[in-house]
Subunit: 632 residues, 2 copies
């Protein structure tokens, strides 16, 4: 580490992932490290207790390196890659149907007549003439880089060459022909080796797949944290960071480094050669997309929240620093609005929402919750800021869904003792988002907490107690944990979850109302997002996150964004659908909407202040004896 | 100068133009310099006489710098820029008619409604929507660089911006709409400042004009030697040089440096700011075009003579090193064949040949002579290697058309004394191409030479004598010259001119025959090329270069290439015409054509072996008394 350097930055530079939810502002306290040897200069904030400070604990973001150091990164501050792959587990459900296998990236082998004194047409005209005669391809645009290499390749291949074409993402108008681009030419017949990459660029994680475009198969998959995570936890902190000097460039490079690492991993897994990759399709939310492309995201967070563009022309991936061949184009999914991005468009086409008359609610649950309501005829969208609770943020012992996170929870109604299950079966380390839902639902059903989210006191258990942050329930005693401290859920944690689920509920309720629909008789509810795949339908209805409708209407599609990116790589039909869907979506801005505020306040209750909106839950809860009075 | 450096290269690096016809191979002897002080290491070739060597004369290309030097460059070896502007003299004749003033580069001012919470469409969609509503522009492609700057520009301009669009050179097909590109956006209303550049990139000289696209006017014009001249005199030597290591890059940079110098000059003359230049149109022969774009010209000189492409997509000028804004596109005129390039296509559209039924012969006379025969219905083309005689090359005292070149010549039939006129009225230094024609025609008419190009001996004049290279005629005695030597025309010089004119004549005769036309009853003869503008019709017919048809059918259009480039900058109609013309031209390859060889041999006579092909000349010559017997 360079002396004088910021410790968090030095760790990032060394490739060590340290949690830094607030982006290095010093206000979240997640980047605590223990200085075992050596000296740092630290600005102490209120996030560091007297005792911690004495022990040598420091906030990495607030420390400067003075001497050589040995630093221990506590488990709570560590981001581990190993168990991330859980997110990729289980095949996403492909609900979209009827598309033809017809990748936008195509290869054509052609044998041309060599030039003679009687046929002296130029190399390029000869190639285009051949493609027209043999494959009826016309109206082509040829990249200048291809023109440049053409003479040598044609002769190296003895006039037998393979041409790669790409159908670009520019929306064709009625009556206009598609204009495929010739993006590469190789000597000989290389059709057999024909691959592309699909990426989901999430705020927290980046997931990539290597696709075989001849067979329509996923050959490899890899996932990693988005390198930007060290600069802030959510899109708002990232946008704030991007406004610092060189901030945008730093963030862009961070995600590009992540992408490059994933590409390396995919190539290693599949034994495919880098130069056989011909195309990249990326789906991401608006902020992630703009940062990746180097488009200043400044106006995304300023009212009235305007993205730079909805449809972005494809560009050369290498121009962004992505380590692929010079002629590989990167296509980003079209965006709808500042907080409804290409990931949602990808999910909608992957789930086939646009193909059916069925009235659908599509939800992507996360710090930023995105909602789509509609069918093949119309679609409305909105986003709501749920806060980080679903991803383990803003929760005393919250954590991302990695090894040691408490994910499932049951409670013995007789003695109020918990039964917990952690990810990876390890000793508990904290609580992930889906665990939080299950815990709150369990505590509610057992009467440990009341419908206003407050603890019932005087219960016959030592697990409910008054802690430094108010009332709390002990999920795991210190000796049983990895962190050597009691793992608890506090009233403040429950409050954060209630705000999060209230925002989601108010979001789809307001959106439904705004198109004249009474909430919430959806014929189908599609839940997307890696997080979404691991939550329990019944318990999510219990806390009022999901609508109280027949359980068989719920479908989890996992990473819908990656699914859409993959299908688009396989079919221009899906590519066209993506454009159409992005164009037909009407976005409603909820942040300053009065109905939304009213719906939100009404939903700050478990499951809801209006019991009739959750009939089956209300019925069940009334059977539950409330043993002691609530402090409501 | 760096010690150890090649002296020719050191001079080039220092911006000093030295003649080096052979491209530094040591075989032409044109780059002789006098070492006045200091030391060089030289390989002596047969081009350097014993005496010259003793005096300190060296071939720059064969010398390495040993110490600091003072070098004198003799006038014969010097290329002077000052009188080049003569080539730009006189307005080219615009023969093309009926085109609308509608530049491919357009500016649109637009005032957009600022975004609100009710209208949150993206910046780009807002812009496109505005352009559609206000100007009915649709189907636009927006450059990524514009997308990137869009948010800031829109807000800096308070939603009032000027958009620059370019109609690209990609040939539209029937039924397809034009797809204008948005290549720039500026805050506020900048329509008033709207300029572009037109260039003719010749093998010897580069000529540029700065155009006002609002008024359709030429604001400034400048000309300079093509910096590649130090690497070879003609396209074949240049192609050979391009095959050396880094040769192509060196040649490309040489012409780009010339272009940049011209741009600087044009801006200084016109007081236009660099960033107001929005577009560049370039016309050049196939080799010059390919080298400028960095397209390997290797196959142009190998049979069957194949250029890389006929239609080249426009590209960013700055990517070639041209010092203009990042968003300035460079459009090169479409090419027809390896030796019929964009300069000819430009000339044809500038001359309006494609607009009339009139059977036309279009000639561009130079080292490489290009010929077009046709009208609005059909066109055939060919090129023939005339050799450098028309440009003063391969001639003992030949020189390019600069100050001191003998340009006009009369002879007193009574005493055979010459009357010479030089360019710039200076003391004579050598003979330029048009001078050579006039001299040979004069000598022929006065009976000093016979129709086979040999001197008649025993004439009553000391001016005809036997020199070291055979018989010669003294045009100017040493004391009257700049070079302190007798300036003579030799039999070898006359022979070279006869070969050159025979190649041109055989070219258009063969081409006419190949489409079933008897030579040479053209309804119109258009002579292009800066050289062409200064030659005498009557004398050119006398030597058999031009066909013996009524003199009023001849039209000189000057630099047709620059003319076409300028008109195309002013009108998409002309742009479309250029595409159409390039597509309709059928090229005939003459280099291995038997008819051409026969026609060539028959034309190696003054004016021609077949007197009936030049009736008026033959009639006049028979009246001329041949005073002494020819040594034929």
């Amino acid at each position: 580490m360079g002396h004088g350097a910021n410790l968090l930055q030095a760790a990032i530079d060394a490739g060590v992932h340290i949690n830094a939810s607030c982006g290095g502002a010093g206000v979240c306290g997640t980047c605590k490290v223990l200085i075992e040897k050596g000296e740092v200069e630290t600005t102490r904030t209120e996030k560091l207790s007297e005792e911690e400070y004495k022990q040598g604990v420091r906030q990495a973001c607030q420390s400067r390196v003075i001497t050589d150091l040995t630093v221990y990164i506590p488990v709570e501050s560590r981001l581990e890659k190993a168990v991330l792959s859980r997110e990729g587990e289980g095949v996403s459900k492909v609900l979209a149907t009827g598309w033809r296998f017809k990748p936008p990236l195509s290869k054509f082998f052609i044998e041309l007549p060599p030039p003679t004194l009687e046929d002296t047409t130029s190399d390029l005209s000869r190639l285009l003439r051949g493609l027209k005669q043999r494959y009826n391809l016309s109206n082509m645009w040829v990249d200048f880089e291809v023109v440049k290499r053409l003479p040598q390749i044609l002769r190296d291949g003895d006039w037998k060459v393979t041409v790669t074409t790409l159908v670009t993402a520019v929306k064709p108008r009625a009556g206009d022909r598609r204009k495929p681009r010739v993006i590469n030419i190789e000597p000989g017949n290389t059709r057999e080796k024909h691959y592309s990459l699909a990426f989901d660029i999430g705020t927290t994680t980046v997931c990539g797949q290597l696709l075989d475009l001849n067979r329509g198969k996923v050959l490899a998959e890899s996932i990693d944290y988005n390198g930007q995570i060290s600069y802030g936890e959510d899109v708002i902190t990232r946008i704030a960071y991007s406004q610092k000097p060189a901030g945008l460039k730093t963030l862009q490079q961070a995600v590009v480094t992540t992408i490059n690492g994933i590409i390396e991993e995919l190539l290693a897994q599949s034994q495919v050669e880098l130069e056989r990759i011909g195309h990249i399709i990326v789906a991401g939310n608006t902020t992630m997309t703009q940062i990746l492309l180097g488009l200043d995201p400044k106006y995304i967070r300023l009212t009235p929240y305007i993205p730079t563009a909805n449809f972005i022309p494809p560009l050369e991936a290498s121009s962004l620093g992505i380590k692929v061949g010079k002629r590989v184009h990167l296509f980003t999914f079209p965006l709808v609005a500042s907080y409804v991005g290409g990931d949602i468009v990808a999910g909608i086409v992957g789930a086939g929402v646009h193909q059916r008359k069925k009235l659908t609610l599509y939800m992507d649950i996360g710090t930023n919750g995105e909602i789509v309501i509609g069918n093949s005829d119309w679609m409305v969208t909105a986003s709501c800021s749920a806060g980080p609770a679903f991803e383990g943020g803003g929760v005393k012992h919250g954590m991302v869904a990695t090894t040691g996170a408490i994910e499932d929870f049951d409670i013995d109604p007789t003695n109020l003792e918990p039964e917990i299950h952690t990810l990876g079966g390890a000793k508990p380390k904290g609580i992930c988002g889906s665990g939080l839902i299950n815990i709150v639902a369990g505590l509610l059903e057992a009467g440990v907490i009341a419908q206003n989210g407050k603890f019932n006191t005087g219960l016959p258990t030592k697990r409910v107690r008054e802690g430094s942050d108010g009332y709390e329930y002990v999920l795991s005693w210190a000796p049983e944990t990895q962190i050597g401290k009691d793992i608890v859920i506090t009233e403040a944690d429950i409050d954060n979850l209630m705000r999060a689920k209230a925002a989601m509920y108010a979001g789809y309720r307001t959106l439904a109302n705004s198109v004249g629909m009474p909430c919430c008789d959806f014929e189908q509810v599609i839940v997307a997002g890696a997080f979404g795949s691991h939550i329990n339908i019944e318990k999510s209805i219990t806390i009022g996150l999901f609508p109280d409708i027949p359980r068989d209407r719920f479908i989890f599609i996992g990473n819908g964004s990656l699914l859409g990116a993959r299908l688009t790589s396989f079919s221009t039909d899906v590519l066209d659908a993506a454009r159409k869907v992005a164009g037909m979506m009407t976005n409603f801005e909820l942040s300053e909407n009065v109905d939304f505020m009213n719906n939100y306040i009404a939903a700050l209750f478990l499951p809801h202040t209006n019991a009739s909106e959750f009939p089956t839950v209300s019925k069940r809860l009334t059977r539950t004896p409330i043993t002691n009075q609530s402090r409501g």
